[in-house]
C-alpha cells in the first residue's frame, strides 16, 4: 500500500508543484510588464 | 563535390601541419586504456575477455568526443565560421568534407588505440584485424556523422566542452550497441553477427542523412 501512496503522491505532488511554479512565474512576469510602462491588463 | 574535397584537404592539411588533435586524441585514448586496464583487469580465471570489446569502444568514444570538440573550434578561432556559411555551395557538402576528415583522423586514433589495447590486454588481434578494421570504420562513421553536426552546434554554446558529450552520447546508443556486439562476435567466434552488422549499417545511413539535412540549419546566415 505504501508503494501505491508513494507513486500517486509523487506524481500528483510534482505536477501540482510545477503548476504552482508556472503560476508564480506568470504573476511575476505580468507584474514586471505592467510596471514597465504601457498598460498591460491580463 | 569540389567543396567536399576542398574542406577535406584543408582539414587534413591543418592536421598534418599541427598534428595537435591527433596527438591529443591518441595520448588520451592510451590513458583511457591504461585506466580501463586497472579498473577492469581481464579475468584470467574465467578465461574470458567478455567485457573487453565494450572497453575498447569506451576508449574510442572518449577519444572521438575529445577530437570532435576541436573540429569547429578551429574554424571559430580563425573567424572562418562565417566564411563556411557564406561559401556558395550546398552546406551538405561542407558537412561531408568535415565529417570525412574527422572519420579519417578517428581511424588513425583507433588504429593506435587498438595496438595499445592488444598490448595491455594481451590480445592477438592479427587474425581478426581486417574485420575489426571494418567494424571500427563503420563505428567511426556513425560517431562522426552526428558528432560533426553536434560539434558545429556545441562550439556556439557557452560551455562547449560539456555540451558536446551531452548532446552526442545519448544518441550514440545504436552505434555503440551495434559496434560492441559486432566486436564481441569477432572476439568470440571470429565473425560479425549479421544483426549487429545490419544495425551498424542502418544506423550509419540514418545518421548520415539526418546530419546532412540538419547541417543546413546550424551555420549562421
Amino acid at each position: 500500500m505504501s508503494y501505491v501512496i508513494a507513486a500517486y503522491g509523487l506524481t500528483v505532488g510534482l505536477l501540482l508543484l510545477y503548476a504552482v511554479s508556472l503560476r508564480r512565474e506568470r504573476a511575476r512576469l505580468r507584474e514586471q510588464l505592467s510596471r514597465g510602462g504601457e498598460s498591460n491588463p491580463g | 563535390m569540389n567543396v567536399l574535397l576542398a574542406i577535406l584537404g584543408k582539414d587534413l592539411l591543418i592536421e598534418w601541419r599541427r598534428r595537435d588533435r591527433l596527438v591529443a586524441m591518441s595520448v588520451f585514448a592510451v590513458l583511457v586504456v591504461l585506466i580501463l586496464y586497472f579498473a577492469a583487469p581481464p579475468n584470467r580465471a574465467e578465461g574470458g575477455h567478455a567485457h573487453v570489446p565494450g572497453l575498447l569502444w569506451v576508449a574510442y568514444v572518449f577519444a572521438t568526443v575529445l577530437g570532435l570538440g576541436r573540429s569547429f573550434a578551429l574554424e571559430l578561432e580563425n573567424e572562418a565560421m562565417s566564411g563556411l556559411a557564406l561559401a556558395p555551395a550546398d552546406r551538405g557538402w561542407i558537412f561531408l568534407g568535415k565529417a570525412l576528415a574527422n572519420v579519417l583522423i578517428v581511424m588513425v586514433v583507433q588504429l593506435l588505440t587498438a595496438f595499445a589495447f592488444a598490448l595491455a590486454f594481451d590480445l592477438d588481434l592479427w587474425p581478426i584485424a581486417p574485420a575489426l578494421a571494418g567494424v571500427s570504420v563503420l563505428g567511426a562513421i556513425g560517431l562522426c556523422s552526428l558528432g560533426t553536426l553536434f560539434s558545429a552546434m556545441a562550439v556556439r554554446t557557452t560551455n562547449r566542452e560539456v555540451m558536446l558529450p551531452l548532446l552526442m552520447l545519448p544518441l550514440m546508443i545504436p552505434v555503440l550497441l551495434g559496434a560492441v556486439r559486432a566486436t564481441q562476435g569477432l572476439f568470440e567466434d571470429g565473425a560479425v553477427p549479421a544483426s549487429a552488422l545490419q544495425l551498424l549499417l542502418v544506423t550509419d545511413g540514418v545518421f548520415l542523412i539526418v546530419s546532412f539535412l540538419g547541417f543546413e540549419y546550424v551555420l549562421d546566415d
Binding site: M1, Y3, V4, A6, A7, Y8, L10, T11, L14, L15, Y18, A19, L22, R23, E25, R26, L29, R30, Q32, L33, G36 | L146, L149, F150, M153, R156, T157, T158, N159, M163, L166, L167, L169, P170, L171, I173, P174, L177, G178, R181, S195, A196, L199, V202, T203, V206, V210, G214, Y217, V218, D220
Partner: protein, 231 residues
C-alpha cells in the same frame, strides 16, 4: 506577439482536467484489487498514462521544431520548448513511479529491459535539448539548434527501439501496452488515467506557453528599453 490571451484554452483545459481527475480518482479507488500483484497493481493507473504524455511531449517538440525551421515564427519555437519541458516533467514522473511499481512487483527497482532503457535514453536526449537551449548564445540561434536537435531526437526513437531490442533481449513489460493484459474492471480506470494524464499535459502546456509568451515579451521590451536608453 500577444498569444498570452489564452484564457479560454486555459479555462477549458483546467475545467476538463478537474472533472477527469475526479472521475479517475473515483475509478481507481473502486477498481478491483489484482489477485496476483495485490494493491501495487493500481500504480498501473498512473504510470503508463504519464508515458503517453511524455511521448506526446517529445513528438510535439519535434513537430514544433520542424514548423519553426519551415516558417521561422518564434511562436513555434516556444511551442517546441514548452512541449519539451512539460515532456521532461512527465518523464521524471514516469521514472519515479516505474521503479516504485517494479520494487513492489519484481522486487527490484530497475531492470535494463527494452522500454525502461529506451525511456531513460529519450529522457537524457530531452534533458540535453533543454541544456542546449539554455547554453546557446542568441535566441534565434538557440531556436534553430534546438529545432534540429529536437527533430533528430524524435526521428531516432524507432532506431533506438530497434537497437535496444536487439541488445536487451526479451522485455518484461506487458507486450501490448496495457489494454490486453488488463483484467475485468481495470480498463476503465486505466483509460481514464490516460485521458487525465493527457489533459494534465495539455493544461500544463497551455500554462507554459503563456509563460513563454510573457518571457518573450519581457525580453523584447528590455531590448527595446536598452536601445532607447542608448540613444
Amino acid at each position: 506577439m500577444t498569444d498570452h490571451t489564452s484564457s479560454p484554452w486555459h479555462r477549458a483545459t483546467a475545467g476538463l482536467l478537474f472533472v477527469l481527475a475526479a472521475l479517475w480518482i473515483y475509478l481507481v479507488w473502486n477498481a478491483p484489487i489484482d489477485r496476483v500483484q495485490g494493491v501495487v497493481q493500481k500504480i498501473l493507473y498512473v504510470h503508463p498514462p504519464t508515458a503517453f504524455a511524455m511521448y506526446l511531449g517529445f513528438v510535439l517538440t519535434g513537430v514544433g521544431g520542424a514548423l519553426y525551421l519551415w516558417r521561422g515564427d518564434a511562436r513555434y519555437d516556444r511551442f517546441a520548448a514548452s512541449s519539451a519541458e512539460v515532456g521532461v516533467l512527465f518523464a521524471v514522473l514516469m521514472l519515479l513511479s516505474g521503479p516504485i511499481w517494479a520494487k513492489g512487483t519484481w522486487g527490484k527497482w530497475w531492470s535494463w529491459d527494452l522500454r525502461l532503457t529506451l525511456t531513460l535514453v529519450q529522457f537524457m536526449v530531452y534533458v540535453a535539448y533543454l541544456l542546449l537551449r539554455s547554453f546557446t548564445e542568441g535566441s534565434e540561434r538557440a531556436a534553430r539548434f534546438a529545432a534540429v536537435y529536437g527533430i533528430i531526437g524524435v526521428v531516432l526513437i524507432p532506431l533506438n527501439y530497434f537497437a535496444i531490442d536487439l541488445a536487451a533481449g526479451r522485455s518484461i513489460h506487458p507486450e501490448n501496452l496495457g489494454d490486453g493484459s488488463l483484467g475485468e474492471g481495470m480498463r476503465a480506470p486505466f483509460w481514464a488515467g490516460v485521458v487525465t494524464s493527457l489533459t494534465a499535459f495539455a493544461y500544463l502546456l497551455v500554462r507554459r506557453l503563456e509563460v513563454g509568451g510573457l518571457r518573450a515579451e519581457a525580453a523584447h521590451r528590455e531590448a527595446h528599453d536598452a536601445l532607447g536608453a542608448e540613444g
